[in-house]
């Protein structure tokens, strides 16, 4: 049954991908990309990777669609006819695909318990996690502690992306300020003239925020954690910005607060790492944070997940505002 679902979803995925490449209308391409992410999320879910599915759905299908639309508002809706020949690109893609297909001939069969990935590191995590960290969601334990250094890196990838967008979009001095001035003069973006989205949206915002907080603090028990929660919380504010106008959102969370939030989250994560060194253990070793190593690990994971959530929501909102400010300029 799982196989059948998988094949069905993957077939849809290929069809969507071809449609994205073929369409000339960028708006259509953005919508299809949202569907593409949702299909991947469903696929991850079928494979029992609920944490990844949640992230993909929130970031891929949700936030990136909004950001793509923000970028689209700054350019045109239609793709320009390509000036270069596409033959070479097509040849490279076909070759790479064939090579990957060739590689799959010797791969372990789907769901094989004797596959190498189920024999080496993964069973060690399952076996030893209860006595080392003791939280029900082993995925969070692996991401937050065993491979916490990778997660620290990913947080900084998000921060770097935020720094990059702010740096690039602030190139014309004062563009943001002028834009906000124009917004005050009347022509505002968003849905504030449409009654139904406003009413429904307003009702949804608190629930999305609440769900975001649930996902943030429930990451140790079920699927979730800082990345997903950060995306959800950012989504709530973006929705608010769409129905009430960007300006009112900035009154709630000004740009400087967002920058502090993004940088502060990354610093909080780093500080937990440094605390490990100061307490006489390795960087990012949470066991020494409390008298009992297991409690220390759990505290460490809660703290770093908070840092992740802060940075992800801060950066996503900064990027959204940067695009919106540019849009009105």
């Amino acid at each position: 049954m799982t196989v059948l679902f998988g094949v069905f979803l993957l077939t849809l995925l290929v069809i969507t991908a071809i449609a994205i490449v073929r369409t000339k209308n960028l708006f259509v391409a953005v919508m299809l990309l949202g569907i593409f992410s949702l299909l991947i999320a469903a696929n991850f879910f079928v494979l029992d990777a609920a944490d990844v599915a949640l992230t993909e759905a929130a970031v891929g299908a949700g936030i990136s669609t909004v950001l793509f639309l923000g970028a689209l508002a700054l350019t045109s809706e239609f793709e320009r006819t390509p000036t270069r020949r596409r033959g070479l690109s097509l040849a490279v893609v076909v070759c790479a695909t064939l090579v990957v297909l060739y590689a799959t001939f010797d791969k372990p069969t789907f769901g094989d318990p004797n596959a190498p990935v189920h024999q080496h590191v993964a069973p060690w995590y399952l076996e030893n996690e209860p006595e080392l960290i003791d939280i029900p969601n082993v995925v969070t334990a692996v991401l937050g502690s065993f491979r916490g250094y990778d997660t620290l890196g990913e947080v900084f990838v998000v921060l770097t992306a935020g720094i990059g967008v702010l740096f690039l979009l602030s190139a014309r001095p004062g563009a943001g300020a002028r834009g906000r001035q124009a917004a005050r003069d009347g022509s505002r973006i968003g849905l504030q003239n449409d009654v139904i989205p406003r009413v429904v949206g307003r009702m949804l915002v608190p629930f999305i925020l609440l769900f975001g907080l649930y996902v943030q603090f429930h990451g140790e028990y079920g699927p979730g954690g800082g990345f997903q929660a950060g995306a959800l919380i950012a989504a709530a504010f973006i929705l608010y910005a769409l129905i009430e106008g960007e300006e009112r959102t900035l009154e709630v969370l000004p740009r400087n607060t967002l920058i502090a939030l993004a940088a502060g989250g990354a610093l909080l994560y780093g500080a937990v790492g440094i605390a490990g060194i100061l307490m006489g253990a390795e960087f990012l070793n949470y066991s020494v944070l409390a008298s009992d190593p297991i409690t220390g690990q759990q505290w460490g994971i809660i703290l770093i997940e908070a840092g992740v959530g802060m940075t992800v929501s801060g950066v996503l909102l900064l990027v959204f505002h940067a695009f919106a400010a540019r849009d009105q300029a």
Binding site: Y102, V117, H120, L159, T160, F167, P173, L267, G273
Partner: protein
């Protein structure tokens, strides 16, 4: 080992990484630069401290979070890592020390904190790759360093920086994705991400298709990021339109880090386990290396913009590095690693001198630089020292690596004679393209009407900048005369890498 020394591998990454978000928040004028420079110098000091330990026979290992590899992420710093770490942190420090006025001119004050934060993230990302012993962790830090380098390259004043950076971004992302596909395939067949563990476990499955495909994807992906011919098309424009200080920093070390991963992955994981891999490696890379030397140098001979000329020269120099490695011998590999070090010194000096030149000249093509050296003799003398090292004149650092390369090729028999011919021809071409710049700046009649701003009178570059440019130039002479440090690191590293080859 003292407690601080024990933490050095982690601090090498953590110091620049964690200070980057702090720099974002430093608004007052000049403070972000000062903080970034101090951080970069601290990172350099850490690299020097570890190099000293390594020369005393230490190999630094670190278990992140206290979890032993392969369950946690391990760090490992040996001679090869130390060699490239010195370059990354050194080039960053010199670029920042010399680059303040140049960066002030191209980037508005309120955007500078973001720029310097991105610069530190490049340092942290590259350092993270170099200290890591984990294939996926390398990918994570590759993402940080790549994203951050797109940001700093896009800081150039020329609008053409944006298309250049977009090309760099697309090519870099494809390269990183190929690497990730390869790592994923290996993980599927071995269940581990730690490089040493991978090298052990891959043995049983080494003849299976996913591993062969993984070797292909990883090699091609990293070659793309390292700008190995013919995958170099992103490089010349990215270096040309980047802010001058960024060109100096990235030209000295960015592609070298990708070469580091390529060589480390190949010699640690694939060479010992895959049957006939040494032959495939040589047969794939040697022709590309020869073409890189010949084509890169030829294009450089006809290029008129100094920065793009130096960019194409880098394509050729990467060819020398790959040529040494493709011999799969101890001397060849030593030559390759030495050239990583020496080329960074030469190209770093040249780009720093170009930055000083750009303080006084708006256009950097040969036609508008006529007689520049008569107005800026110190700057252009430093440039000549860098050029001599690039060519490989005895007494400069460049000579040492070329000498090793010729020695290694000589041991190969008839094929080696052909390779020596290529090296000699390539060096002669380097003489030609360097001479074109020297001729234009020293001997051509002076060109008027090319000052960078109306009120500048064309004179020597600012003293502080000139001092750093000369510091870089002198390293070329120092390491040409006293070769103990780079040779100890390169030969030791080559010995360790080649030990796995059957």
């Amino acid at each position: 080992m003292t407690s601080l020394e024990f933490h050095l591998p982690a601090l090498q990454v953590a110091v620049p990484l964690l200070l980057a978000p702090v720099v974002v928040l430093l608004r007052p004028r000049g403070l972000a630069w000062a903080a970034a420079t101090v951080t970069s110098l601290m990172a350099f000091a850490i690299a020097v401290a570890m190099t000293q330990g390594i020369l005393d026979g230490e190999v630094y290992r670190y278990a992140m979070g206290g979890w032993e590899a392969p369950y946690g992420i391990g760090l490992r710093v040996d001679r090869f890592s130390a060699l490239v770490l010195l370059l990354v942190t050194g080039a960053s420090s010199l670029g920042l020390l010399a680059g303040k006025q140049s960066i002030d001119r191209s980037i508005e004050t309120q955007r500078q904190p973001l720029f310097y934060a991105a610069w530190l993230l490049v340092v942290a990302g590259l350092a993270g790759i170099l200290v890591s012993a984990d294939a996926f962790n390398i990918f994570v830090f590759m993402e940080i360093s790549s994203l951050a380098s797109y940001v700093v390259v896009a800081g150039g004043t020329d609008r053409r920086a944006l298309p250049a950076v977009f090309k760099y971004l697309i090519m870099g992302t494809i390269g990183a994705t190929f690497y990730l596909i390869g790592v994923g395939l290996i993980y599927m067949m071995t269940g581990t991400l730690n490089l040493a563990d991978m090298a052990m476990r891959i043995h049983e499955v080494s003849e299976q298709r996913p591993i062969l495909v993984a070797a292909g994807f990883i090699t091609v992906g990293l070659a793309l990021k390292a700008a190995v011919f013919p995958l170099h098309v992103w490089l010349p424009n990215a270096y040309t339109y980047a802010p001058h200080a960024v060109s100096a920093f990235l030209a000295a070390c960015a592609t070298k880090v990708s070469l580091y991963v390529l060589l480390r992955f190949d010699f640690v994981v694939f060479q010992p386990n895959l049957l006939g891999h040494d032959f495939q490696f040589a047969a794939f890379l040697m022709p590309l290396a020869v073409l890189a030397i010949l084509v890169g140098s030829t294009v450089a001979m006809f290029e008129s913009n100094i920065k793009r000329l130096l960019g194409y020269s880098s394509v050729a120099q990467i060819g020398y590095i790959m040529l040494g490695a493709s011999l799969v011998s101890l001397t060849g590999l030593s030559a390759s690693l030495l050239h990583i070090f020496n080329h960074a010194l030469a190209k770093g000096t040249l780009f720093l001198a170009v930055m000083a030149l750009a303080m006084r000249f708006g256009q950097l093509d040969l036609a508008s630089l006529g007689g520049a050296a008569r107005r800026m003799p110190w700057t252009m003398s430093a440039f000549v020292v860098g050029a001599l090292s690039l060519i490989g004149v005895p007494g400069t650092a460049g000579f040492i690596s070329k000498w090793y390369l010729v020695t290694a090729a000589f041991a190969e028999g008839p094929l080696g004679y052909f390779l020596i011919a290529v090296i000699v021809v390539g060096s002669l071409m380097a003489v030609v393209y360097s001479w074109r710049i020297v001729e234009a700046t020293w001997f051509a009649p002076e060109v008027q009407a090319n000052p960078v701003t109306a009120e500048t009178t064309i004179g020597e570059a600012p003293m502080a900048m000139l001092a750093v440019v000369w510091l870089a130039a002198l390293t070329n002479i120092y390491f040409g005369l006293f070769t103990a440090l780079p040779r100890a690191l390169a030969e030791g590293a080559a010995g360790a890498l080649i030990a796995g080859v059957p």
